[in-house]
């Protein structure tokens, strides 16, 4: 039972990390808090579903197309909306939240609601690990979360674009003087963030079903992880994902599932009181020291 709980806590942590990493990437580089993030997650899921069911193409093709469409959506959102309010944090939040709301409610309006809206698992097998049955999809989620984090690290350290991302994230004005186009980089950051949300949707949704209300859940979870870990910090996201992921499953197993939803919210409150910028956040560090 204990080992089983630990295995599923690890899986839960990987899911949380996958859900949050795109939001964190966008904020860390562009400073844009993309509140349409949950909507993009659902948009990608519906796009995959529609491609699968209307065109009959395989999921292996539908998923990359959905990811690319989501990236295009993110780029468009930045180019046509966010660019005009860039730097005004409140306006950015309102604009992205409004877009997210419109997207999610559009799916409700179109009647894309029902249990049949789900995506197929990649490999339909189950395995016994430490006397606990775990399906292959969950194992893949853990592996892909690990690969994604490693890939992102390599991307931001060893590619020109990745280095430009880091440059803008560290000091936008200095980066500008070196010829980096901060608007282009910010657009790519929003686009990449949306792509990561879509990637998460394509591998997490097969465990459940697609529902517009799930978009709000994903946004809340991503926010919880990023706030606790520290906005913009990849290390913080990973640590917070583990913290919340394990806390949720342990609460399920040893207290009551009734309290599970409160864990992440309580963690946000505690972290905000003790360390307002999260574990590895930097934006308020100076104020905190003072």
């Amino acid at each position: 039972m204990f080992l089983g709980t630990m295995i599923y806590a690890l899986i839960n942590s990987a899911i949380l990390a996958l859900m949050a990493i795109g939001f964190n990437l966008t904020f860390g580089i562009s400073g844009v808090a993309n509140f349409a993030y949950g909507a993009v997650y659902i948009l990608a899921a519906y796009a995959s579903w529609l491609l699968l069911n209307l065109t009959g193409i395989s999921f292996w093709l539908a998923a990359p197309i959905a990811i690319l469409l989501s990236m295009a959506f993110g780029a468009g959102m930045y180019r046509f909306v966010l660019l005009r309010v860039r730097g005004q944090a409140l306006s950015e939040v309102i604009a992205t939240f409004g877009i997210g709301l419109a997207v999610l409610e559009l799916f409700n309006y179109l009647g894309l609601v029902g249990f049949e809206y789900t995506l197929p698992v990649l490999i339909d097998e189950s395995f016994m690990i430490a006397d606990t049955m775990v399906d292959m999809q969950r194992i893949l989620i853990v592996l892909m979360a690990g690969l994604l984090v490693a890939g992102l690290w390599a991307f931001t350290h060893y590619t020109r674009l990745g280095l430009a991302f880091r440059g803008i994230a560290q000091d936008e004005r200095t980066a500008l003087t070196l010829g980096m186009d901060s608007d282009r980089i910010a657009m790519l950051a929003v686009s990449f963030g949306c792509g990561l949300a879509a990637f998460a949707a394509c591998i997490v949704i097969p465990l459940g079903s697609i529902s517009p209300s799930e978009g709000y859940e994903v946004l809340i979870k991503a926010l919880a992880v990023c706030i606790i870990g520290g906005l913009g910090s990849t290390g913080g996201v990973i640590l917070a994902s583990f913290l919340i992921g394990f806390a949720e499953r342990l609460t399920d197993a040893y207290i009551s599932s009734h309290w599970t939803m409160i864990v992440s919210l309580a963690a946000i409150l505690i972290v905000l009181v003790i360390k307002p910028s999260g574990f590895f956040g930097r934006q308020k560090e100076l104020e905190e020291r003072i």
Partner: protein, 426 residues
């Protein structure tokens, strides 16, 4: 020239006369039926379609008779979102009040999902004297309010199964499982909402405790929860023979997937809304064989050859919308509620709310769900014989993807079979 002008004048005159003659029929104001519910959820969406289908059928036969005049029915709907996680009850109430004030419906059907919203809305319905036949929210708390103050809350009726009757169906199913296989250890998993809590508590107190069952645990999951692995591991480690789920949220389908993928050696028997419809087999990759599920009302996603109206209802719905009903709760009583309302208007010859309520109380109709009569809490009576009462259905998914009715006995097509790997305790 003059002849041409004459003929033109005759044509204009004839058209004008025919338009004037048609005016009394066209000007008769339609009777408005309001559908404020959670339209973003399957049960709400399909219930609204069922209501629209009934309205079309009634209108095709001329509509309802009010003060000797035939009037058409018209449906207005609004999404009150009360089933969505985190939406507060006052927001749902605002939605209901808005539709009452702006669309002025003669009556409301379907109504809120959450019982918390229904009980709070009862005062609004009383204030605006708007009769309602609810078909989704299930807590018996609303009936209690009706019984405590029948004059004030006389406008509230319920046509779907309530939690008390669901308890009878679940208890009946558990008794059949006990008799057939000797199982006595149950693990209860339910959604943390009023009707599901009430149902789980009532099955425990009225059946499990009295029949000698051991309730190993009773886990409540918040609406929106999507990982049930811990609960399933606990069920396995505690030696559960039966898992009784009670959920109506879309995410509850994950529970079935996890139950199957984790090979938990226990019979899944209860209510999980995503299991109700025919599409579930495909949705869950043909991995739900053996699961026993209660569809709350006959006609909601399942029909019995013994009840032809239920077969016709599902057939006509598919013909009208090109898709089978998938919700095991809501559509059939929603469809019936329009007929109940129309018959009450015809009997009253009026749309006065008090006259309408008086006639609704006298309802005795055999329809899709069986025989509908309201008790003193204005709840449709549910039982096990469709000629006497309305009925629900308990069915089992077979290993080849069919749904076989296993309870009540009067409608049963097969006996419960254990899924592979699970042995009888007898």
């Amino acid at each position: 020239m003059k002849t041409k002008f004459f003929f033109q004048s005759v044509i204009v005159f004839a058209v004008a006369v025919s338009l004037l003659a048609a005016q009394p029929v066209m000007s008769a104001e339609p009777v408005v039926i309001g559908v404020p519910t959670s339209l973003g959820f399957l049960e709400g969406k399909e219930s609204l379609k069922a209501v629209e289908m009934a309205v079309q059928e009634i209108n095709a036969k001329g509509g309802v008779t009010v003060a000797g005049e035939k009037r058409q029915l018209v449906v207005v709907s609004s999404d009150i979102r009360d089933a969505a996680p985190g939406v507060p009850v006052p927001e749902a109430l605002l939605g209901i009040e808005k539709i009452i004030l702006e669309k002025k419906p003669t009556a409301i059907v379907v109504g809120p999902f959450r019982s918390e919203a229904l009980t709070a809305a009862m005062d609004l319905l009383s204030k605006y004297k708007t009769p309602m036949i609810g078909t989704i929210a299930m807590s018996p708390a609303s009936e209690k309010k009706v019984k405590e103050d029948p004059e004030k809350y006389k406008y509230v009726f319920r046509n779907c199964l309530n939690a008390v009757y669901l308890v009878k169906y679940l208890a009946g199913t558990m008794a059949a499982i006990n008799k057939e296989f000797g199982f006595t250890k149950v693990y209860v998993m339910h959604q943390d909402v009023a009707w599901a809590r009430a149902t789980a508590d009532l099955v425990k107190s009225t059946y499990f405790d009295k029949a000698g069952w051991e309730v190993l645990d009773q886990e409540a999951y918040p609406t929106g929860a999507s990982d049930f692995s811990s609960g399933l591991m606990k069920a396995r480690s505690k030696g559960a023979q039966v898992i009784m789920p009670i959920f109506d949220m879309p995410q509850s389908g994950v529970l079935v997937k996890q139950w199957k993928s984790m090979n938990v050696p226990a019979l899944m028997a209860g209510f999980i809304s995503p299991l109700a419809g025919s599409d579930a087999w495909k949705t869950f990759d043909a991995k739900i064989g053996g699961a026993v599920n209660c569809n709350f009302e006959m006609g909601s996603a399942i029909a019995s050859d013994q009840m032809t109206k239920s077969v016709d209802f599902l057939k006509n719905y598919k013909k009208a919308y090109g898709k089978e009903i998938q919700a095991g709760h809501g559509p059939a009583p929603s469809y019936e509620s329009v007929y109940i309302l129309a018959e009450a208007i015809d009997r009253a010859g009026s749309i006065d709310p008090d006259a309408l309520v008086a006639q609704l109380k006298k309802t005795d109709r055999i329809g899709v769900t069986g025989r509908v009569k309201f008790d003193d809490g204005q709840q449709a009576v549910y039982g096990f014989d469709p000629t006497e009462t309305a009925v629900g259905v308990v069915f089992q998914w077979t290993e080849d993807g069919k749904r076989k009715i296993v309870f009540p006995d009067a409608l049963a097509e097969a006996k419960i079979k254990l899924p592979k790997g699970l042995k009888s305790a007898k």
